[in-house]
């Protein structure tokens, strides 16, 4: 067990070391949301700078999380990139292209290098019952269990 106070002090060192660019895929709920909030809270008003992207489906949840983060970290930039269905590789491709474009633009405006320092991926579906609900229409599989057959 790495002691929690060491975890917290290490995170504090990280945000004080340099401006950070972080991406949270599936960051609109659960552990992803907790992690981006933790980063914003640790950065607070004293960190070296933060640009964080939330990639996910739920725009409303993302807005709420970003608004919370903005209060904790007033100088931070928080951006939402909307995904449709990250189980499909095509959607991953589209989302990544938009992320790269946006990051290049933001880095240009702020005068830094476009980059990603931290990428946290939590995209998943936790639906033991009828996992078809909420899936895209072009998803013919019996359930997400067989999602590999519809990757494209």
């Amino acid at each position: 067990m790495v002691k929690l106070n060491l975890v917290q002090s290490s995170n504090a060192t990280l945000v004080a070391s340099q401006p950070l660019v972080a991406v949270f895929v599936g960051g609109t709920s659960g552990i992803g949301a907790h992690t981006i909030k933790s980063l914003a809270a640790t950065h607070g008003e004293g960190g070296k700078g933060l640009r964080a992207y939330i990639v996910g489906r739920n725009a409303k949840a993302a807005e709420e999380i970003m608004s919370d983060c903005q209060k904790m970290c007033p100088t931070g930039q928080f951006r939402f990139i909307r995904a449709n269905d990250l189980a499909l590789m095509k959607d991953v491709d589209l989302v990544c292209a938009e992320l790269i474009r946006t990051e290049e633009k933001e880095a240009n405006i702020t005068g830094g290098t476009s980059r990603i320092d931290i990428l946290v991926m939590t995209q998943a579906i936790f639906k033991p019952w009828d996992p078809r609900k909420g899936r895209s229409k072009n998803f013919p599989a019996l359930s997400i269990c067989f999602s590999f057959q519809a990757l494209c």
């Binding site: 990051e103 033991p128 019952w129 067989f146």
Partner: protein
């Protein structure tokens, strides 16, 4: 398996140029379940057959494939990139209270929380966020250019972690909810000897290639 493995590795390879531009170096954290690797069905890596597919087997294959693909990525990018497969423990978040779940299932997690906490490692949301973020710390450095163990065994009062292939500071890490190592099971030795690292990587790259070309991947 798509969301938990293929989607995440595809995302990582797409944004690799941005990750390599990080001066930290960059950390990639995939939150799921190292340690679930048990059954390995060599003839059906993607578990295409419904006979092979199931909760246990899919978790197992995701863990195997992630371990191999992460080792491949760190070996390709020495000094630049650390990848972490993180098991978060049980985090009793809103995910368990989805209104489409049966009432008894929601009830177990709502009212049974004290009992569940005795049985399973459970983190609250705040600690979970802090520990997930900690995976980006110098405890998990990228692999050195010569592939040798890190020269320093610790960063301040925190030890440098061991990679899934047994190298201290080796770049690809299997990490438990408490940020300690999840041991690589012993069957990996035989799988490595049989060349499964390359086979798993080729399987994954082939899937990406076929889909990108507009074909249907059948592997």
């Amino acid at each position: 398996m798509s969301l938990l493995y293929y989607s995440r590795m595809r995302f990582t390879t797409h944004v690799l140029p941005l990750l390599l531009s990080s001066s930290l170096p960059a950390h990639v954290v995939s939150v799921f379940g190292p340690g679930r690797d048990t059954t390995f069905i060599a003839t059906d890596l993607s578990l295409r057959s419904p006979k092979n597919y199931g909760f246990i087997n899919s978790g197992s294959h995701v863990a195997y494939l992630a371990t191999f693909f992460m080792e491949y990525l760190v070996a390709q990018n020495p000094g630049k990139l650390a990848l972490i497969h993180y098991y978060p423990g049980l985090v009793l978040s809103e995910g368990y209270q989805d209104p489409t779940f049966p009432f008894w299932f929601r009830g177990i997690f709502k009212y049974g929380a004290p009992l569940i906490k005795l049985l399973l490692p459970t983190l609250n949301g705040k600690e979970s966020g802090e520990r997930t973020l900690f995976n980006a710390s110098p405890r998990f450095p990228p692999r050195s250019a010569d592939g040798k163990a890190a020269s320093s065994k610790s960063v301040g009062s925190i030890g440098v972690a061991e990679s899934s292939d047994g190298i201290v500071g080796g770049g690809a890490y299997r990490v438990n909810f408490d940020n300690e190592q999840v041991a690589t099971p012993k069957q990996y030795k035989k799988l490595r000897e049989e060349g499964w690292l390359d086979k798993a990587v080729n399987h994954t790259l082939k899937a990406f290639e076929e889909i990108e070309a507009g074909r249907v991947f059948t592997g």
